[in-house]
Symmetry: D2
Subunit: 337 residues, 4 copies
């Protein structure tokens, strides 16, 4: 952290400021300049509220933070890719893994039909929402526990590990048979939930919030890792911008940047990002090309009658065609599918 | 809801589409056009996933929703201002109410000192964070239950009703002595929490999320009202935009618009919005001028040593000066302070 | 500018890097750290492409710029408010000045009618668009030179100085009778136009671009000032964000911040910012309260038949009512109207 | 266009409203509803200011536009891909075309060295900035006409057609030897410039503005086409969002959407979008995968000493490696390189 000082500050004032930090265990360095002098602060500055220092010390003009706040998630700390296995399915490293299934769990017939279809097309994990976050209280809220049972049954029959979204930490006991706990975009900074899943031994699929930066996503991963759980998949699913032609703006460059900043696997959700079925396949191929480790895709046996997100769901034959295209391209990206 | 059809659709196709809606209990109207024909759907369309209809019905080119999804919160449904009393303090209507206190509860001495100061300057309620949502797991997370006790003690001594933030619904039993439950920006779409506070008889201060629209804020209020709790204060606290000169972009025009769209009281949090102490007073005055019903302001007895948000906290004498300015201006806006 | 170095860089490498800057006339300071060492660069760094240095010097991990790039516009350089006179009308300092008139100049009768109405309500300058930037080539593009003539005639009759928008630098000769040249939001970074108006002796009303930061606005003012023209009014007119309920998001906090950063007068355009007539008055009052030096407001004698922006135009009696409200409040803000 | 009416409007009022439109040559359709009645307007509504109608007709509650405003650029009007030839180089259709060269033209040696390098790697056109739009007046502004001469010389020697940016319409005569006129992001809505290049017979590379929607980009293309020039390349180069980790947020989903909405070729500029050299290659591959028709990439013989944008420039060997990767993947996307 660097504090740039205002002009013509008396030496005693500066000295007092340096001593106040050194008494807290930091070292300080004096860095004079033509326009402004500065003081560099050395030590673990991650808990310092930088703006507060500026506002509350009349001698300081600006401050700059020069190291990232996340540590465990950083590739600087852990340079090799994190690779882990979920019920026999390897995630990360050279694997390109596709999670597929309906937005919402609706019926037994639907789940089994979609599950067997996506499995035969090459999906390695099954998704399906039992608890659904919806903007409107009048919209379908998911089947809840019954949905979890239908998912579990589909898992038993197809052997596909299952991924489903948790809404709050009191639900953790319900997720015993779930293989990957999904934390949705709206909960990315539900810190109590992050801490709670961090205490479990379940892998976590952590979606980026609609208005959260890449650094904040990594800080949320840090919350989970700080509790001892390192099996995290980060998931880019579109951010909110001024553009309204699509549901969100998919930040594929952010995926490429995440792959440089962190060792954690990074997935892409093209379905929620755009909200338009015909864009899912081009975005899925672009995600593979940009370096993603996998995809989570909405597939429905009958999109026209889906209870949620039908507009962006592929039907099984569209999904099968996409998987063929991805398999053709995976080896160019040195990925196994 | 209006569905605009693609060109040259056979009459049978259109008929099938209309019948499919009429069988669900809607009425339909045929609206031919020069470029496109359209079908208007009549009935309660709030649960319809409009995009899904478009994507899954090949005859539909576009759809437009023509009524708002929120009902209970709408001024169309309830035209008079909602006014309610919290422990003797009236909120809404002709009242301009200031909530003040430190960002975080830190010590007994701090709470009592700030509480008596803000009371004597004219604040009507006391704020203070016991549970703190922080982007970094390494940052100060609040005193928790001990913080709640210090708040309660300050309430007992000063008689100021207290406002503090809840992090998740399991904490509700801890909030017995709290007068207004605050739901923070990151939890605005934590729907389980909204439902849970909707089942209590506590007034709720609902902050707008960083990337949430005014309509989504009203839908979140609708979640609470749908459970029977109508005592809600909406709070604008800045949205996230491309501008980085301030912490967030305070949407004061959104406040004026909210006052037209809803009967619920609307407060402004200038401290979090800008994150810069010297901007708090001009923004507070602008909030009064634009039609807000009150403010929530961070005041700290010693901002330089605050454990969080010191950069944006006023000290008691700055707060007192601001309150003087607000009182001078309140009558021009036909508000009592 | 501070360069934070990667770890374990050999001393010779660092030395070479420092010498490369010192040969260009900069001084360098060595600032060792626990995590990272750093080098501070002293001198006029405003032309340095900071990111380029980072990317092209493998020893550099990050860089931070610690001084602003604008100089002439900065209050640090020129602490007193800029106050200037336009045809007898004082702008800046203790003056709160209202510019009013129709979005587009349409007819002689319209201009004279609006001009005399706004004058009698207390507007000090007259606005009206002769050349109109429109997103669609099929929309009304303004009356052009004929519009300028109608404006000039209205000026002759009412003695109100006139403000109108320029579209490109070839039009400067046409603006001889115009008192203030307006540069629209879309042209805020039309640098050739900025340089061209900088060479004139006309005051300039410079609108903030839809997606431009406050610092970029000040840099655009710097372009004009760098050519010798210091009579600039900055104008906040709403920025583009994710919120679609209003035309744009008015950044009133940005106005308060601008007043701290620069000595130039800052105006607000509430009409374009929100695009909704009923919000113009609350936003105008909030602009006065937040510290703006004036307003530019759209007034039309017959908004229902305006050729552009009728939705946000006040009629003369609405404008008159607003001016009364502003006059009542101006003295509280120590402003003359 | 659909006007949704307020409740309980007397029949005469409605009739008057319909007649007012029918007198202007539109047809109207009466569409009663349970919540609201509506009137559909039929005819060429592209010039109607929808919001003005709502604000100025007290009987109208909302309005919705149901057809796009652009016509010539729309794939609905012209379903086949636009393909054209620039000095022997085919653009659009099955071609994947790479434009490469330095950000700024600096010296003869630089231009010739970069031009021959990118040509031998497979670039089909040469880029280089002679006139540079820069946020700061103190930054390098380009070599101007001398830069154009150096570009022309590089064209003569290598036979590569050249692409360079125009700053304003007075420069058109200088662009005689330029093969494609580039309109930069800041000029996307410089409508006088759009009209002026529309009157030339030069192909135009039109970059999307930082805060402009896809529909606005298409409307700007419409300005050019409306003057008779149909040879336009649209270029996505990143939009401005809240994320600051990269220079901009590259909207690759927008590229896929553009390919559906318009027949015009769509290119991607990964260099400006991210501003980080190591991200250029993954983004270039993703652009190919998502359906783009080509790329514009910054290549510099000596990025460390580039006068602008060195941070994002590839050196010739990095560019060569990227071109190899693109060629391997082009056939999977049914593109020729």
């Amino acid at each position: 952290m660097v504090f740039i000082l205002k002009k013509d500050i008396p030496a005693e004032e500066i000295n007092k400021f340096r001593i106040s930090w050194e008494e807290k265990g930091f070292s300080t360095i004096w860095a004079p300049g033509t326009d402004h002098d500065a003081i560099c602060l050395i030590g673990n500055t991650s808990a310092i509220d930088m703006d507060a220092v500026v506002q509350t010390n009349p001698i300081v003009a600006y401050a700059r933070r020069v190291t990232e706040q996340y540590k465990a998630a950083s590739r600087l700390v852990h340079s090799d890719d994190t690779v882990f296995t979920v019920n026999g399915v390897q995630i990360g490293g050279n694997n390109f893994t596709v999670i597929a299934g309906p937005c919402s769990v609706e019926t037994e017939q639907q789940m089994l039909s979609v599950a067997s279809a996506v499995k035969s097309s090459g999906a390695k994990l099954l998704r399906g929402g039992a608890f659904k976050p919806r903007s409107s209280p009048y919209a379908f809220q998911g089947l809840g526990c019954e949905g979890l049972q239908l998912l579990t049954e589909a898992k038993r029959i197809t052997s596909l590990p299952i991924v489903t979204e948790i809404m709050n930490q009191t639900q953790i006991p319900l997720f015993d048979d779930v293989d990957i706990i999904q934390i949705g975009a709206r909960n990315m900074q539900n810190f109590d939930l992050l801490k709670a899943v961090g205490k479990t031994d379940k892998p976590v699929l952590l979606k980026r919030g609609l208005a959260n930066t890449i650094d904040e996503l990594l800080m949320s991963a840090e919350y989970i890792m700080n509790e001892g759980n390192n099996r995290i998949i980060l998931c880019e699913r579109g951010i909110r911008t001024f553009e309204t032609a699509m549901r969100n703006t998919l930040d594929l460059a952010g995926v490429a940047l995440l792959k440089q900043k962190t060792h954690l696997p990074v997935f892409v959700d093209p379905s929620h990002a755009c909200g338009i079925r015909s864009l899912v396949s081009p975005l899925a191929k672009a995600a593979l090309a940009v370096g993603a480790d996998g995809l989570i895709i909405e597939v429905h046996n009958d999109p026209a009658h889906a209870l949620s997100d039908g507009a962006q769901s592929l039907n099984p034959s569209q999904f099968d065609a996409l998987m063929m295209q991805l398999k053709q391209r995976a080896s160019s990206e040195e990925k196994n599918m």
